[in-house]
């Protein structure tokens, strides 16, 4: 593999990792606060649809982004209502959200646009254009560094940079601020937070609001950054992969980055090298397709060791039975 190809693969990795990363960090905030979220997929899907739909209607990608975030926030709100307010089962609520998003997006799309559950293709200001970073053109000629900067680092949409900046930001929030301390505490021992005079419900809603915000960004990136419009089920299981990445990352921001990059890389490689020929024996494309999933299982089975989730995760905080 030559250098240019390598850069291409890595470039593709960055693009594919971005929605995973945003969703993974979203899950991180939620699960660190003790709310397990398998509804990431649905939130992303809802966000993808509404961002594309509003961008298509208004012609403004920024309004679209806001709409996407709002949609994901509404989904988060439902999740919160079910799992925080009414102390329901978080997994079931997540499953319901995935169903809901998958149905409602197409239903509304059909009602609004009559294009078979699709939004119209976004033009011009309806999409996030890629940004050329300063000096990218100028440096392009410099060997090694130039192409690296031009191809890999420059030339992504703004949401990609936002996603990557979210990693240190998440770390900082979690480990350097009062809010982060409380958030982590509420995922470990909500009763400690409660008796310390801090509202468990408030913290958890804040966490899932952040989760909604980030899945909103992820969905909007899919529909208006990576693509130019929404099609049904366009998240294609990314929410689940993000969840796997979160476990792989042991609920830590930097590890989340690495995990998402790894999954992105796997997808990029699978896309680029289908039917790998190993001296006569051809690895079928299905194997390459299934590889990220197989790898997830392998990783869960062995390499992460015991990933210890936040202790209060998945359980509603019940004081009185």
């Amino acid at each position: 593999m030559d250098y240019a190809t390598l850069l291409q693969v890595l470039d593709s990795t960055v693009r594919l990792a971005t929605p995973l990363l945003l969703a993974c960090l979203a899950g991180l905030f939620s699960e660190r606060a003790g709310i397990v979220d398998i509804g990431l997929e649905g939130k992303m899907l809802a966000a993808a649809f509404f961002s594309a739909a509003i961008a298509a209607i208004t012609g403004s990608v920024w309004l679209g982004l806001l709409a996407g975030i709002a949609a994901a926030l509404v989904m988060s709100g439902i999740h919160g209502l079910a799992s925080i307010t009414f102390r329901g089962n978080q997994l079931i609520s997540g499953v319901a959200i995935n169903f809901l998003a998958s149905g409602i997006t197409v239903l509304i799309a059909q009602d609004w646009f009559s294009q078979g559950g699709r939004t119209p293709s976004l033009m011009g200001g309806g999409r996030f254009e890629s940004i050329t970073l300063p000096f990218a053109e100028a440096l392009r000629g410099v060997p090694i560094i130039g192409p690296l900067y031009y191809e890999l680092i420059s030339g992504h949409s703004i949401l990609v940079y936002v996603a990557f900046l979210m990693v240190p930001l998440t770390w900082w929030i979690l480990f350097r601020t009062r809010f982060g301390l409380r958030l982590r505490a509420v995922g470990e021992a909500p009763e400690a937070v409660d008796t310390a005079g801090v509202s468990v419900v408030g913290l958890r809603f804040a966490a899932i609001a952040i989760c909604g915000l980030l899945t909103g960004l992820a969905g909007a990136y899919l529909a208006t950054g990576l693509q130019a419009g929404f099609v049904r089920e366009m998240t294609a299981g990314r929410g689940y992969i993000a969840l796997a990445a979160l476990i792989f990352a042991k609920w830590r921001p930097w590890y989340a980055l690495y995990a998402c990059l790894l999954f992105g890389l796997l997808q990029a490689v699978a896309l680029r090298y289908q039917n790998i020929d190993l001296g006569g024996f051809i690895i079928p494309v299905q194997v390459m397709d299934a590889l990220p999933y197989i790898l997830t299982v392998v990783i869960l089975a062995g390499f992460v060791g015991k990933a210890i989730p936040p202790r209060a995760g998945g359980e509603p905080y019940v004081k009185e039975r």
Partner: protein, 533 residues
């Protein structure tokens, strides 16, 4: 003396679903006193205090603090009213450091750094003033229970509590640690602070409190000056009848060795060695009591002998060696070998809470062909026998169709005892037989244990209650840090000696007891921390 009460509760009521935990309770606690609260399990003590601390919301009633009506809707309100509470089950974040736990909810600003820095300073001061030293940077999960309790007290003091509530603080302490705690409470009282102390131990009430309130079935039955009462009177107020505080028994007639344990070692999931070469022998017709502070390997000893934790070493039952890991090392194999087991935690281990009582009466023995008919379970027979057992063990209500969770703690314990004792095992392992059991039921359980002993069975008794160990055991072994520190005969030792052994101190120290205990515990913590890495 100031006669505005520090705390006055008026007409507090609280129901949990169908359970009326507190019924129209009124109480006054005077400032600068230590006020004891006693009562059977489930009497509603913790509930009342949790209401005062804003953890639960009362259905009715008022809270007055220092003469003014306070609307305590959450813990924040309680904290700002100057109330601090150390719960029965600590409310700490296990994988946070001590410092982080201290500042949680009481941070100075949105950034952590300055809060942590200030807390470090304050903590140092408090540590000196009250002899409450803990390493501020240690993770709470690496601390002994005693030290975790210190963190809880420090948390309250850091929030400048004037009124400190302690819910059964001594259950998890060595006697020396408990003494130390009482000195701290004394000190607090001397400073004019108010302390509310919940405990089951009448001795402690008599020793330190100024006033004592008694609760029964959700109601406040009496409040008396400690100086004007006696343990016997308190016990009667608690249960509503005269109680025998001692166990009647004849001297043991030890027979052959039934259970022989040699050099037992066990490493837990986290990789910490919990049993470090335990050896003991158990004879027919005797009760061997294992004393020790919770967390020193007694639980693991029971789990290993009960067959559900792997270990190395050698265990023989009537000369037949038992496998300690792999196939054959499970609860049902042990039961077949004649070892019955009343586990320490009836709710987490001994019973399936949603199962009916009759289903629970065969739990662990459900594979016995006696309870099968063909491919199916013989439920009719199981129910029939359950009814019989429940009547004979005076389980109330004697209704086998009720779910286990609907019985009170004492009655749950009776169901477990009935199940295990009725199998007539040669060896019975019993952990904390009377934890959370009211005085009346304790009497019954103790009698049953002695009756079994007198039938020539061997009993291994693990309890954190020294009183219980003393009154039941024919021999006492003390465990500390996964080892047996020594064996004593009950008549030839006293609480102080056992207390020191429980802290790992084998020789009576020159200076202060608590320092020796502290040093010993520190050493243990350091060892464990090293093992974690």
């Amino acid at each position: 003396m100031n006669d505005t009460p520090a705390i006055e509760l008026k007409g507090i009521s609280k129901a949990f679903g169908p359970v009326q935990a507190n019924k129209d309770i009124s109480i006054r606690v005077m400032p600068g006193t230590i006020h004891g609260i006693i009562g059977e399990n489930g009497a509603g003590k913790s509930t009342l205090m949790s209401i005062l601390y804003g953890f639960y919301k009362a259905d009715a009633g008022e809270i007055w603090v220092n003469g003014s009506h306070k609307d305590i809707t959450d813990s924040q309100a309680a904290i700002s009213a100057g109330i601090g509470m150390v719960f029965q089950h600590f409310k700490l974040v296990q994988n946070f450091t001590v410092l982080e736990n201290i500042i949680l909810g009481a941070e100075d600003g949105p950034m952590l750094r300055p809060s942590l820095a200030r807390a470090r300073g304050v903590l140092k001061q408090l540590a000196e003033e009250y002899e409450l030293s803990v390493d501020p940077d240690e993770l709470v999960e690496n601390l002994s229970v005693g030290h975790q309790q210190r963190v809880e007290i420090l948390k309250a003091l850091y929030r400048q509590a004037d009124i400190l509530i302690l819910d059964e603080p001594t259950g998890v302490l060595t006697p020396a640690e408990a003494d130390h705690l009482f000195r701290i409470l004394d000190h607090l009282r001397a400073e004019g602070k108010t302390v509310i102390l919940i405990t089951h131990k009448l001795r402690e009430i008599m020793e330190i409190t100024d006033t004592v309130s008694v609760m029964r079935r959700g109601e406040m039955t009496a409040t008396v000056k400690t100086a004007e009462t006696s343990p016997e009177q308190l016990a009667e107020l608690m249960v509503g009848r005269k109680v025998l505080l001692r166990v009647d028994k004849t001297p043991a007639q030890p027979g052959e060795v039934l259970l022989d344990v040699q050099n037992l070692r066990h490493v837990d999931d986290a990789g910490v060695e919990r049993l470090k070469g335990v050896s003991l022998q158990l004879r027919a017709g005797e009760v061997l009591g294992i004393a020790g502070v919770a967390g020193n390997g007694q639980s693991e000893l029971l789990e290993v002998l009960g067959g559900y934790a792997d270990a190395s070493g050698a265990v023989t039952m009537k000369g037949v060696s038992l496998p300690l890991s792999g196939a054959g090392a499970d609860g049902s194999a042990r039961r077949k070998a004649g070892i019955g087991h009343v586990p320490e935690d009836r709710q987490e281990e001994g019973l399936i809470m949603p199962y009916t009582a009759w289903e629970n009466t065969v739990f662990g023995y459900h594979r016995d062909p006696h309870y099968q008919s063909g491919m199916l379970m013989n439920n009719a027979r199981i129910k029939e026998e359950a009814q019989d057992k429940m009547t004979r063990y005076d389980v109330r209500p004697p209704n086998p169709n009720l779910a286990a969770r609907n019985f009170s703690g004492g009655n749950q314990q009776k169901i477990v005892l009935a199940r295990e004792i009725e199998r007539d095992p040669d060896v019975l392992l019993i952990g904390q037989p009377t934890r959370g059991v009211d005085i009346g039921a304790i009497e019954f359980i103790h009698q049953e244990i002695i009756r079994l002993r007198d039938k020539g069975k061997a009993i291994l008794l693990v309890s954190v209650e020294l009183d219980e160990i003393f009154s039941l055991s024919d021999r006492i072994a003390v465990m500390f840090d996964g080892q047996i520190m020594g064996e004593r005969m009950p008549g030839e030792t006293d609480q102080t000696e056992l207390g020191l052994l429980m802290a790992g101190v084998t020789e009576r120290p020159e200076g202060k007891l608590i320092d020796a205990v502290d040093a010993s515990l520190k050493e243990k913590e350091a060892r464990e921390a090293r093992q974690h890495d």
